[in-house]
């Protein structure tokens, strides 16, 4: 039935060499010229839920083996080997897609599946173990569709109260799409005063917002990009790139690259309001205490409030539900609170950045002639324009929050206009025990007592802001993902002083 040349002992070397060669030729996008001069070989794409998108533009450089399939002898490359280079993000199916036909098979069962190019059939799949109906000819794409994906590898649709849906890139490639004609420009050659003009378009597979989020009233919609940018949706298309999605706004007025998700019914308010609100009160001659709680999602606040873990804060009314930033991690959330702008402007979008590229609250307060203090634990997360007041765990309680409380109370008695205090315990407990665990609720209750002490001691305005939320994981809690538990946080503005 079949013959594959090449001995077993040479297979490892051959695979190793072929991976290197293919990496060079395919990942770098090199064009492999067809052997036969003048012969056209169409591009075959490997797309979907993969790390490395591949464009195969020729046969040279491929690790070809000689196979016999039926009465045909062909030079072919192992699809399994190609997928090893493409690196599917998880266990996947692959879809062999031709213009008018497609076949879906399990990617883990491709040991005897080959890809060949012949002048009569173009790119052609030859599956020795599968039914012959899977042997697709004139193949254009191999689409990897993951069975399960990490949250961050998906495109997620969320609202302030739920994670609504998610899509993988492979799923989108395998679904019905529009072909979006993107106008690139018109060039002209002028010969003898006659202009010969041609207009060029890029054709991209695309999906619309309603394809992703349905037709219901979606409220204020934000498109969130991988670098933390958020664009208010006012029309546009989601373009399917080989292994990611870009959003292009109507009229080509902006693009969000590497879309991570979409937020429906998003509030206008965000934790960056803390910056503007603090400056407003300082400008009005009020002193401001800005308390930053780390890792306290709105759903945790609601749960704690409903179950009696926040007696003091609950007595002051309901918190506002505001948006954090993407990525919802301490660096980026803190930067948003302290600069009043998002990651694309302040330069802090993940745990990897510490330096701000825009003015921080302390700098502006100083320009206003105000005295400030920044009270933190034993280290500072991002670099700000003033030296923080550090607090070590002197009583070895396992936390520095009690020391931060004591220091902040001391500053409440000083002639300081702006005090910013960053409490970490809710985040620590959430990571260790889970966002809604009893231990975390008890930590929230302890923080509630801290807040009562701080607010009643402060003669001025108090703002309570949160950097990011927290979601449940198998071993506790985590954050940093585009999910409602991480992205929506409580926010308070209160009058300080005795109740």
């Amino acid at each position: 039935m079949r013959t594959v040349t090449g001995g077993e002992e040479s297979k490892v070397d051959r695979v190793g060499v072929s991976v290197i060669v293919l990496c060079l030729l395919l990942i770098l996008g090199a064009t492999v010229a067809p052997k036969a001069a003048g012969a056209y070989i169409p591009t075959l794409q490997i797309v979907g839920d993969i790390e490395n998108a591949l464009d195969i533009r020729g046969v040279e450089g491929l690790d070809l083996q000689t196979i016999t399939y039926g009465d045909r002898t062909l030079h072919a490359v192992s699809i399994d080997e190609l997928l090893k280079i493409a690196k599917p993000r998880s266990r996947s199916d692959v879809i062999y897609s031709a213009p008018d036909l497609a076949a879906r098979v399990d990617a883990s069962l491709l040991a005897n599946s080959y890809l060949a190019f012949t002048p009569e059939n173009g790119w052609e799949v030859l599956n020795f173990d599968h039914p012959t109906s899977s042997n697709i000819k004139r193949l254009e794409q191999i689409i990897a569709v993951a069975h399960e994906l990490e949250w961050d590898d998906r495109i997620t649709i969320i609202s302030p109260i739920e994670n609504i849906a998610y899509f993988s890139i492979g799923q989108l490639h395998a679904s019905s799409q529009y072909v979006h004609w993107e106008y690139n420009g018109s060039a002209t050659f002028t010969h003898d005063t006659v202009g010969y003009t041609s207009s060029v378009y890029t054709k991209s597979p695309a999906v619309t917002l309603s394809d992703l989020a349905g037709e219901a009233d979606l409220g204020r919609v934000l498109v969130v990009g991988g670098s933390g940018e958020m664009a208010v949706y006012k029309g546009g298309m989601f373009l399917l790139r080989p292994n990611h999605v870009d959003f292009v706004a109507e009229g080509r007025r902006g693009m969000v690259k590497n879309v991570k998700g979409i937020i429906l019914n998003s509030p206008v308010s965000s934790n960056s309001d803390a910056f503007h609100d603090a400056l407003h009160f300082l400008g009005a001659g009020r002193s401001v205490l800005l308390v930053i709680l780390d890792g306290f999602g709105y759903h945790q606040y609601a749960y704690a409030s409903d179950n009696g873990y926040l007696p003091f804060m609950s007595s002051l009314g309901e918190a506002q539900r505001v948006l954090s930033v993407y990525q919802p991690v301490t660096n980026a959330g803190l930067a948003s609170i302290l600069t009043g702008v998002g990651p694309e402007q302040n330069g802090v979008m993940s745990r990897n950045q510490r330096s701000l590229t825009s003015q921080d609250l302390f700098e502006v307060a100083t320009e206003m002639g105000k005295m400030s203090a920044y009270i933190v634990g034993d280290r500072q997360i991002i670099n700000v324009s003033m030296e923080p007041v550090y607090n070590l765990d002197l009583n070895q309680s396992g936390s520095t929050d009690d020391e931060i409380l004591a220091t902040t109370l001391l500053y409440a008695k000083k002639d300081v206009d702006l005090v910013v205090a960053h409490f970490k315990d809710i985040d620590r407990s959430g990571h260790t025990f889970g966002d809604l665990s009893l231990q975390t609720m008890l930590t929230i209750a302890e923080t509630d007592r801290y807040l009562e002490e701080l607010i009643t001691s402060w003669d001025g305005m108090v703002i309570v802001a949160v950097d990011h939320g927290m979601h449940s994981t198998l071993d506790g809690g985590g954050h940093g993902l585009l999910r409602y538990e991480d992205m929506f946080v409580p926010y308070f503005i209160l009058e300080g002083g005795k109740r």
């Binding site: 060039a187 960056s272 009005a284």
Partner: protein, 354 residues
Amino acid sequence: MQKKWIGRFTLSLLIVVLAIGIVFADDSLLITGLLDEDTVVPLSMIRELPQLTQDVVAVNSAGKESHFTVTGALFDDLLATYGKQQENILGIRLIASDGYSIDVPREVLVQREIILAYLTDGMLLDERSEPLRAIIPEERAMYWVRNLIQIEIIDQVQSAEITTIRFLESLTEIQPLEDYAYYAEIDQAINIQEIVENLGLDQKPERVFFQASDGFEKNETYEEFSSGYIKMTGTSAPLFLSPKLPKGMQVKDIVFFTVADNGFVSLTQAFDYYAPKTQDDVVGISLAELMADLGVVKSDLYRLTAIDGYEVEVTAEDMASGYVYFDEDQVRSYFPGLRRNTSVLGLYTIEAVR
């Protein structure tokens, strides 16, 4: 004989002119449509602009990628030497010496940098590309024009010509104000939708320009602007805000904003922004200074109208020495040496009489 001599002389002159023209074309870039007259930019001038070296990837129509490093100057920097900005250019045409040209639309101009490259991979451009090659990173190779000899400015944003100044303090006397909750206060605000409806604009502007008294400047889209309010009382007034806009997009302490050919001025903030002048016991803001900043169109005559409908016309010469000030709480004009009837109490508009 004389005719023959004239003919030879004319031919020689033509050859010399052509030769000079060729040399000139080789060493310069022609820019048309930027200023009133065509501009010849010597390549030496482009080389003196801040130098930029960037790795770029050209993608041709077949999808083939070519990677190289280009060195050159930014078109925006070149424009800056003529007091222009790329973001205010609505369209350009890049023209090569072989007749190839491509139009670069506004969408590309506002998003991309245009490099006028004179080196590739550290080497002088070859014959196929010299004297300059336009490089627009992230756009297709069709925009990367070799043998670039001319840039035609197809259209550019014209400096806004303001024909009418409107004083916000007087506007609040004739336009109903709405309650607007701002922190713990209930302030009074003008609904911008009503302002723009009353203006009866034939064509909506793309953007609205704000000038704040702390020097902050902002261009806001008309769409966002028209959905908002101008808060006229309380903290930071006049304050542009909207329940639909994040706090970071608010504009505080507005001195003026311009909508199409209308300039809306807060005299209160103008007193903070400009240095008030004293003339004949009147402490006011110079109209000449205010009109220059707003870009009010030149006219022989200006019509001043009060909120009660009273009108008076003042010559351009008198306007140049005029002031606006507060008389009690009302806006009032003052022109040294002119009759008292030009001192309009409750001044609402100053309009250029065409």
